[in-house]
C-alpha cells in the first residue's frame, strides 16, 4: 500500500532525524575525535595517534580501571549473596511480603546524588553513624573514605546497598521458575536445606546470576557521582573512576579529543569484559 508506506515514513521521520543527530553522528564523532586535539573554542587540530599513545601510558587511566576492578570485586559477590539471600527469604510464606520488598527496593528509586550525600555523612570519620556504632561497641573509628585501601570498597558497599533491591526482584522472578516438586523430591530423599540450595536453587538460578553480574559490570563502569561527591577521586586517586576521569578531562581541562578517546576505550573494554563473561558462562553451562 502506497499510502501506508508514506505514512509510515512520515511517522518515523522525526525519530530517524533524532537518532541520526543524537546517536549516529555522536558515535561517528567519537571515532573521529580520537584523532583530534580540540578544546571546543579554537578549531580542532589533527593529532594523529597522540591521544591513543597518551592513553596507553596514562597511569591515571590504568589506576581508574584498577579501581573499577576493586569496586567490582567487592560489589558483585556482595550483591549476588545479599540479593539471593533476601530473595529466598521473601520467597517463603511470610507476612507483609510487599512491605519487605518495598523497603529493600526503596534506595533504587532514590537519586544517586542524594544517596551519596547521605552516605558521606554515614561514613564520616568523626560524627558518622557507622563510627559511632563502632565506638559504642568499643571499636576505634575507621577512616572509611580517607584510607586509600578502604575508600573504594566503602563506595562499593554503598552502591550495593542502593541497588540490591533491584536484583532481589530479578531473583524473585527467577525463583518462580524453580519447580516446587524438585524440593519435595529432595526433601523425601533427606537432603539438607544446604544440599537443596547447592543442587537445585543455585544451578537453576544461574541465568539470573549471569544477568545480575552483567548488569553490575555495566553499572560498575558507570560509577561517577559517588566518588565525585564523596572523595573527588582520592585519596591517592584510589577512587578515581573511568567516567570521573573522562569528566575531568572534558570539563576540567577541555581536552575533548582525549576525553572521547577514554570513552571509546571504555566502550571497547566493557564489550571485551562482557564477551569474555559470556564465553565463561557458556563454558560452564557446557561442562
Amino acid at each position: 500500500m502506497r499510502h501506508e508506506r508514506s505514512t509510515g515514513l512520515f511517522l518515523a521521520s522525526p525519530y530517524i532525524v533524532f537518532f541520526t543527530i543524537f546517536w549516529l553522528i555522536p558515535i561517528a564523532a567519537a571515532l573521529v575525535m580520537v584523532f583530534l586535539d580540540w578544546d571546543l573554542v579554537t578549531p580542532p587540530r589533527y593529532a594523529g595517534t597522540e591521544n591513543i599513545e597518551l592513553l596507553l601510558q596514562d597511569v591515571r587511566f590504568g589506576r581508574a580501571l584498577l579501581n573499577t576492578l576493586v569496586f567490582l570485586a567487592v560489589n558483585i559477590p556482595l550483591q549476588v549473596a545479599l540479593a539471593l539471600a533476601l530473595a529466598l527469604a521473601l520467597n517463603r510464606n511470610i507476612i507483609m511480603r510487599s512491605f519487605w520488598r518495598g523497603t529493600f527496593f526503596l534506595p533504587v528509586v532514590i537519586s544517586g546524588a542524594a544517596v551519596t550525600v547521605l552516605w558521606k555523612a554515614l561514613y564520616s570519620t568523626d560524627v558518622g553513624l557507622l563510627n559511632q556504632m563502632l565506638n559504642a561497641a568499643g571499636v576505634r573509628s575507621v577512616p572509611w573514605l580517607t584510607d586509600p585501601t578502604l575508600a573504594m570498597p566503602a563506595i562499593a558497599v554503598m552502591v550495593t546497598w542502593k541497588n540490591v533491591g533491584f536484583y532481589i526482584v530479578l531473583y524473585l522472578a527467577g525463583l518462580q521458575y524453580v519447580p516446587r516438586t524438585c524440593y519435595e523430591a529432595m526433601a523425601i530423599e533427606g537432603a539438607t536445606p544446604w544440599q537443596q540450595f547447592r543442587n537445585v536453587t543455585w544451578p537453576l538460578l544461574r541465568p539470573v546470576t549471569g544477568l545480575v553480574t552483567t548488569l553490575s559490570v555495566i553499572n560498575g563502569f558507570q560509577v561517577f557521582i559517588e566518588p565525585y561527591v564523596m572523595t573527588g577521586g582520592g585519596p591517592l586517586r584510589r577512587t578515581l573512576s573511568p567516567v570521573l576521569y573522562m569528566y575531568k578531562q572534558a570539563f576540567g581541562y577541555q581536552k575533548m579529543g582525549y576525553a572521547a578517546t577514554i570513552g571509546v576505550a571504555l566502550a571497547l573494554i566493557m564489550a571485551a569484559c562482557l564477551f569474555v563473561g559470556r564465553k565463561l558462562a557458556a563454558g560452564k553451562e557446557a561442562a
Partner: protein
C-alpha cells in the same frame, strides 16, 4: 522459635535500609549540636536548616527545573515515541528494518561512548545553560520505543483495519485506539523515563553551570561540594527536598515502580 529468629534477621535487614533515610530526615530538623547523634527524634526541633538552605541556594527554582525537564522529557518519550513505535509495529515503510536494527543496536552502545561528542555538540550549538540542553537530546528514548513497539505488536491488526474503515487517521489510531489499550506499557515507560530524568546528574553537571538552570540533584551536588551548604543539617535538608516527593509517590505506587523499574530488564 526458628520463625522468630527469621523475622528478627529480616527486620534487622529492613532497618538497614530504612534507618539511614529516617535519620537523614530527622537530622534536617536538628540544631548543629545534635547533628551527629543517632537519635531519630530531635531534642530541640528547628526549621533553621531549611531556612538557611532556601536562603543560600535556589532550591525552589531547581525543583521547578527538575519537574519541568522530567515532565517534558517523559511526555515526549511517550507521545513522540509512540509514533515510530506504531510505524514499526503496524506500517510497512521503506527502511523499517534498518530503523528497528539501529534502535536495537543503540541498546548495546554504552553511554560513555557518546557522552563527550554529545557534550561537544551542545557546546557548539550554544545550548549550554539552557533547558534545550537538558531536554532535546532525550526527546526520544530507544528502550522506550522498543517497549511500546513490542506492546503495540500484541494489538490485533483487525482493530487497525476497522479504525481505517471508520476513516480514522493513523495518528488518531495511535492515540485513540492503541493508547487506551497500552496503558501498562505507557505507565512502565513513563515511570522509568521520569525517574531516570529526575535522578540524572552527570549530564546536567556537564551542560549547565548557571545556578538558575540547575536541576535539583545537580544543585545538591554543587551545593554540597562547593561548601555553600555549611553544616550537615543543611546538606541533608537539600537531599531531603530532592527525595521526599519520590518517597511519597513510591509509597502510593510502590508496585508500579518495582514492576516498571525491575520488570523492564527482562523485556
Amino acid at each position: 522459635m526458628k520463625r522468630a529468629l527469621f523475622y528478627l534477621v529480616l527486620g534487622l535487614a529492613a532497618i538497614t535500609f530504612l534507618y539511614p533515610f529516617l535519620w537523614m530526615i530527622a537530622t534536617t530538623f536538628k540544631p548543629p549540636s545534635e547533628a551527629g547523634t543517632l537519635s531519630l527524634l530531635p531534642d530541640a526541633p528547628t526549621l533553621d536548616n531549611y531556612r538557611a538552605m532556601f536562603a543560600r541556594a535556589p532550591v525552589g527554582r531547581a525543583m521547578i527545573n527538575s519537574l519541568l525537564v522530567a515532565t517534558t522529557v517523559t511526555a515526549s518519550v511517550l507521545v513522540l515515541g509512540s509514533l515510530p513505535a506504531y510505524a514499526l509495529a503496524r506500517l510497512d515503510f521503506p527502511g523499517r528494518r534498518f530503523v528497528h536494527g539501529v534502535t536495537l543496536a543503540y541498546l548495546l552502545v554504552p553511554s560513555q561512548l557518546t557522552l563527550i561528542p554529545l557534550y561537544s555538540l551542545i557546546v557548539r550549538l550554544g545550548w549550554v545553560d539552557s533547558y534545550r540542553a537538558l531536554i532535546v537530546p532525550f526527546l526520544f528514548n530507544a528502550p522506550g520505543v522498543l517497549m511500546l513497539h513490542k506492546f503495540f505488536l500484541q494489538i490485533p491488526r483487525s482493530l487497525v483495519d476497522a479504525a481505517r474503515l471508520d476513516g480514522m487517521s493513523e495518528v488518531r489510531i495511535v492515540f485513540g485506539v492503541f493508547w487506551p489499550l497500552a496503558r501498562p506499557a505507557l505507565a512502565t515507560v513513563g515511570i522509568v523515563t521520569f525517574m531516570g530524568t529526575w535522578n540524572e546528574v552527570l549530564w546536567p553537571l556537564l551542560v549547565v553551570r548557571d545556578q538558575s538552570t540547575m536541576t535539583m540533584p545537580q544543585l545538591l551536588t554543587v551545593f554540597t561540594l562547593g561548601g555553600g551548604a555549611g553544616t550537615l543539617g543543611i546538606q541533608l535538608a537539600a537531599a531531603t527536598v530532592l527525595i521526599v516527593p519520590v518517597i511519597v509517590a513510591y509509597a502510593f505506587l510502590q508496585r508500579h515502580f518495582i514492576e516498571s523499574m525491575a520488570g523492564g530488564v527482562k523485556g
